[in-house]
Subunit: 338 residues, 6 copies
């Protein structure tokens, strides 16, 4: 039994600490501990669908890091290329929100072991040796000069190994503004390596420094075509459009653009929302699932939509949807399955 | 103070094991333990309304069985005729579901002490000696040859004692398919003993091996009349029609057919659903409550509807609605009662 | 740093004991313990907005009383004028309700240390010495002759010290009916001391013993004008109108009447309701916040509406909304704040 | 199957409310809810051993009372003679203690529905009609004139029906001092009806108003003989001697005196104490168990000792030890039973 | 980075379901869910110490099986050779015990997917291809003819691949007695394949059908020598001696016999016991850890003793002790490590 | 009612995050959140005994800081001089330990808002204006140059205001070693300002750079006299001697040295330990309590010993012992207080 070629995800592992139920932080006597991170969430989603997935990165060499590694392993992700080093875990504290009170995040991720890592601490070449895909994204380079160097090293190793790259825009203004950064320049470089981009017309506007004025699907197509022009390597652009009805009821549509056409799904109602965090990453996992299976734009959009919708019903960052649940997806859920 | 004549319920007691909140099984570090079983749920519903109720059956003679007995006693049900014998408890594991992720049940009830019992292990005659009604249903005979024998013995004892029978169809394809069974034949025999049938046009189609092609109320009336023709002893057929809006919002109507006419309630909105399990049993309890009180078809349908609606707001299998709450039922609930 | 002049709130501190989740009392193995009380809730709301607030009253001199004092202190309220005396805590037990099952309260507050207190047990003059406002309400006098005496003593001390009074009607029929009381007479006396009245046309009908027959805003204005006529000291009347859609979705509008005009807000949807208790007190806190800041009728109505809406999303009696959350209020909440 | 003659227990049902773990009350955000009461605890102990047990008394006719009834029923006790009436539940709040911090109880039981009941509210004659024994005790008459009247009525009904009485001294100074009481006179009257007394030399000193100066077993025998002299009906006196090593390690011996001799067990070590409350009641249940089985003084003392020791390992007031666990009792417990 | 040669563990994965705290089963409203199984526990212990470990076996192909797989993966064990098949999970229910009340297990593992598996369902050859050691034990063959066949197939594959075997006696009389079994014959065959035996003189008595009459260390040495005579392949016998002081305080010594000598450690006090289950498996893991590192008898005995002692402080079946904690082991624990 | 002169405590507020029960971090799905910090713990202890206490310092101006402030307020401490500023909260993660597994702390406090504060951010002069005592300690200056500056500023303000200083050595090697520090020089300067020193002979050795070779009390007296020589302002030195029997059983003695003599208490057994953290701070609070009351060395040592012993029974950092519990202290605790 020789192991299948894995998807490799690269990024930071974080702890989410959140008061139980809908308590506010000021009322909290305990905090639920959830392990996540944008790229780890994608890894969990692909592993749950049965794909071989490897996570590469670096995490604290203490009991907190052990906890993070255990979560990723529990989700079926290969962590042999997850380096360990002294330093703190990145954290974020989250209040869950309800009705008119929005969920709110207080970041405490600066100075983490990952943020302080040097590219030489991580064996990118080894991790990518036999890989089918590298999944990385826009949070790592936003963490500071060290994060930028890590992101560049990951891309370089993938290019070297001939491994295609999926890049998730994940633009976080707050992080970019915390240091003397050039987000456009850095992100352009990284996106220019990518075969797949997870991002919408706003991400592309930012990258290309131009507005897209049209409406709805037209604007999205125009932006996609501009990106395809600017980034010759790029083959696929995937995005969602989300409309908030209430905190526990959103409407979502998914879209995949290729150079030769696009598919946009109908908008579906997602009700009974349990956890909003990680739903974008679940979308990416759904798209990549179909890309790995050889699906077309419609299949990728549909799988992305289904996985993001299902993730809204799952507590925690990780997407734990198996293939049967994905195949049997219906937006309305339905009665108890006996 | 001489004890009033009891309703006797007969069936299996089960443990429901379910991850807390809306966690998936793969995330569970603990499981909520709930005691239930279709007929026990009906027993709990009638006892909570103040009726004398006795449960007859057989349960493991270990600490798990003690737990089940304690729950039934706690609900006010007489358990003196609940035999104890070696063997395992029937279990089912349930994930709660949310939004597009349906609740899902994994059964682990095969080979339970009840499923392996012999009719002679249970004192049906003693239990039914002074009874007003026997409540049994279609799950027991579906459990296998032993279950079929138990169901037949219960009915025989009731016939012997001149006690009328209420039979709840509760058709479970999965159970019937797990052995070399003849569901139609077995269920026809059992229904032919019944004075009251809980079941809709689909149950009757199955019993009579014929479709009912009409629409809405017409189809239901046609099916009921066919059942009255086929089963001379049958006087009452009670059923609900349920429409799922979202996982926490259903629309439900109730209907009672008698030989000389029928009553179907308006459809009501049931929102804020806490627990879907046992709501059909609560409907049966509501119908039987009015039957015991001498109510007409409209009263039975209305009480069944109210009890099933209220049960959706109660965690666990058991229906714990008292007479005041039933009498004060309003589908909209209303503001805090101070 | 000399301390700013405080708002003084006066009333009883209570324990709310409620089964976790949506369990019924008969299912409870534990009870959540929440400290509250109408006037304490207002105090918590104002303190959370940064106002200096002092609570005056009397609470059991045992570990239960310690718990209540700790909660109030934790919310930032000065408790130096909260006397301690032997006797029990006032309690109420609450089932949370869901869908058609309304939340229900079982009171157990008779004979509490507060209810048995004598005006001389409490240093009203000291507490009010340097105060900007006294907040009291209609529950204290409803508790019996001792409560009535306490309420009168509080008002007398405020008059003596030249401190304006805000009086919240909070009419509780059940309490008034439990003794040989004259609610109208007692409440008229107390309202005649007030500069601000929290109460709607039904409260005014009761006070003035006359109906107001108009519709909507007209009826409310007519009632307000009648109250201004009857109570020469009265300058402001604030009220809400609430419409229940489901147990977790209400529609609410707020209104403030002044002698020279009124402002009524548009009705907003409050969804995802976590806790209904204390939302009226949060409204009062919002109105008083703007009164303290010198806001006009519209500002008071808007702040009251925002604070009551936000309180629906907060578990417990206390209103823990800070100034930034109030300023950023939007009825729809919105996506996660990162 | 005709029901066996039951033991009848009479007393008040209480809620114990205690912070989880070893939290202090001032730290509590929730309270564990436990149903108990000295005589109900004895009832639970006998029912768990398989004896027919009936509880007679009166409890609130609200959801709190429902909770208490459910607990007693769940333990297998017949509650048909438990009257329901308006009024509050008796409560007590308990901090658990640890090491040098003793567990501490704050009572809040005054004015409960039971304390306010009239003998005519309770059908003592019906409950005792076919009984083998009445178990009552010294807490009920200590509750005030109404409690005293209830205790006398229970005894009178037992005398009338020829049912022997077991009386548990349970002297609570705090309760007797809360009203203008004559504890010695009242208790002497009640003990003079008893065949069995649960109490030690200190209880007898109090009853007979004389000291017993000897040491150890001699003093206990002297006291017992004095009690047999004073109370001609009395046949059995059962007591324990307890020595505290630490909060979770006690040493206990048990003793039963008969007119013709006595048996005192060796002292055993009880370690790993989970719950101290109800251990005296478990002792009474053990003694009565052997009395019902026809055991001699040694058997009664031994069963009492075993049951009280085992109860220390069980959370809650109730003694839930089955016959197999009692028969297999070893003070040292032993390794996991597989 | 080529993967190191793994230790392969083979056995059944089970769920332990246990009421929280020290509740009895009859009091349980929820059950803690713990994944374990003797050989999986050894696997977790070795993986936590940094060894490459692979688990081979078969588990239910449903969400329960997913949970079990996730736990094993989370502990760092390679589960690629863990087959999935229809059928139930083996379960056991456990009450925790306290003081005189022993922990008690109710098994519900009959008929599990593993128990019904055929050797051809599991890829033993693949799993053992590159292995350093096979760890198996006496529970699998005790499960019935199918279990026996699985155990034999595992050993055969190891022999074929030239992989040494460690066999843990783990004699379970209850399992062997549940079918028409020949434990001695079956176990002799399996032990004859082993290089390492985890078992004491009682296990050897059973295997060889003869008593060992000496005292203490002499008896243990005599038994070991008899085993070395009977099983020519056997090189190492490891065992513990345990003395129960109280349920939370044991005294334990460890011993390793080789053909040319033995080492028995001093007895140490293990206090503050959190979880007794899996402590024998932790001992085996400690012995194997030193065997893999090339340690002598003393090193094996010492590591076994340290790991078993530390496991008593860890909740759950798995041994999660890292190398630093093992190296820093002191029986007295010591003050907080800052 | 004019407010009494407060004790002022100065230091950092921290969050302790610890897995519930005795779980290891790698097993944690939630973390208990506890607010503490050495000087805040002393503040809580004095406030619980009824002293006026003010806390001065600086904490994050976000919801985490709100939580910390709320805890301190809830304990009755005046927080008006607690500044708020951007930045993170200091955290530490703690595993609880059991038996041979010691509790272990992972610090994550570097770069906190407090650690980055400038003396000018805090109104030391205002806070100390009317104070009786300043309590500070050796952790603040160990945090780095900024912490050192804060500590010096606090002392300078106290000297300016003529307020005596109590300094708790609290030597933390790990913190001092994390920067280019001169612990001896810095601490000597700070101790030279102190009237009271909490610290033992090891702390004094470090300050004076010399060993104390004697035994037991002699060595302690010699060290104390050396400190009195070196620090002319110093009047009182208080310390404990702790001996660990097991993780839940320690033996502790307390000692107070004055220039003219000393008092050392007998050693007491502290069993049933719930929480070790903050027990040293409770000792300091007990000593200061008697100093504030004018007690002699024996009274200070005795109160310190009692408070530290009682704190071992209280979960969390804060010492919540009231005056009655302190006065009624007995090392053995005793039976339930009814």
């Amino acid at each position: 039994m020789s192991a299948p070629a894995p998807v490799v995800a690269f990024g930071e592992l974080l702890f989410r600490l959140t008061p139980p139920g809908q308590r506010m932080m000021v009322q909290a006597d305990s905090l639920d501990l959830i392990v996540g991170g944008a790229e780890a969430n994608v890894a969990s989603g692909l592993a749950s669908l049965g794909h071989a997935v490897r996570f590469v990165g670096l995490v604290s060499d203490n009991v907190l890091g052990d906890r993070a590694v255990s979560a990723l392993r529990g989700a079926g992700v290969d962590t042999r290329f997850l380096a360990r080093a002294p330093g703190r875990m990145g954290l974020y504290f989250m209040e869950s929100g309800a009705g008119p009170r929005p969920a709110a995040i207080t970041y405490d991720r600066a100075g983490s072991a990952f943020t302080c890592a040097d590219p030489s601490d991580i064996d990118f070449a080894g991790a990518l040796d036999d890989a089918r895909l590298l999944h990385s994204g826009g949070i790592t380079p936003a963490l500071g000069p060290a994060g930028m160097a890590l992101a560049r090293a990951a891309h370089a190793a993938a290019r070297q190994a001939g491994v295609p790259i999926c890049f998730d825009g994940n633009y976080r203004a707050q992080l970019w503004q915390s240091w003397d950064s050039d987000p456009r320049g850095i992100l352009r470089d990284l996106v220019s390596d990518a075969t797949i981009l997870i991002g919408n017309h706003r991400d592309i506007s930012l990258l290309l420094d131009r507005p897209f004025s049209g409406d709805g699907e037209d604007r999205r197509r125009e932006a996609a075509m501009a990106a395809f022009d600017a980034f010759p390597q790029l083959q696929i652009i995937a995005s969602t459009a989300r409309h908030l009805v209430t905190a526990s009821h959103h409407r979502i549509a998914a879209r995949v653009d290729r150079r030769d056409g696009a598919h946009q799904t109908a908008e579906i109602d997602v009700t009974g929302i349990v956890d909003r965090i990680g739903t974008g990453d679940a979308f990416a996992a759904g798209v990549l699932h179909q890309w790995l299976e050889g699906g077309d734009a419609a299949a990728m959009a549909q799988a992305g939509l289904a996985l993001t919708a299902l993730k809204h019903s799952i507590a925690g960052d990780f997407c734990l949807v198996g293939r049967a649940a994905l195949d049997g997806f219906s937006a309305s859920g339905g009665d108890v399955r006996r």
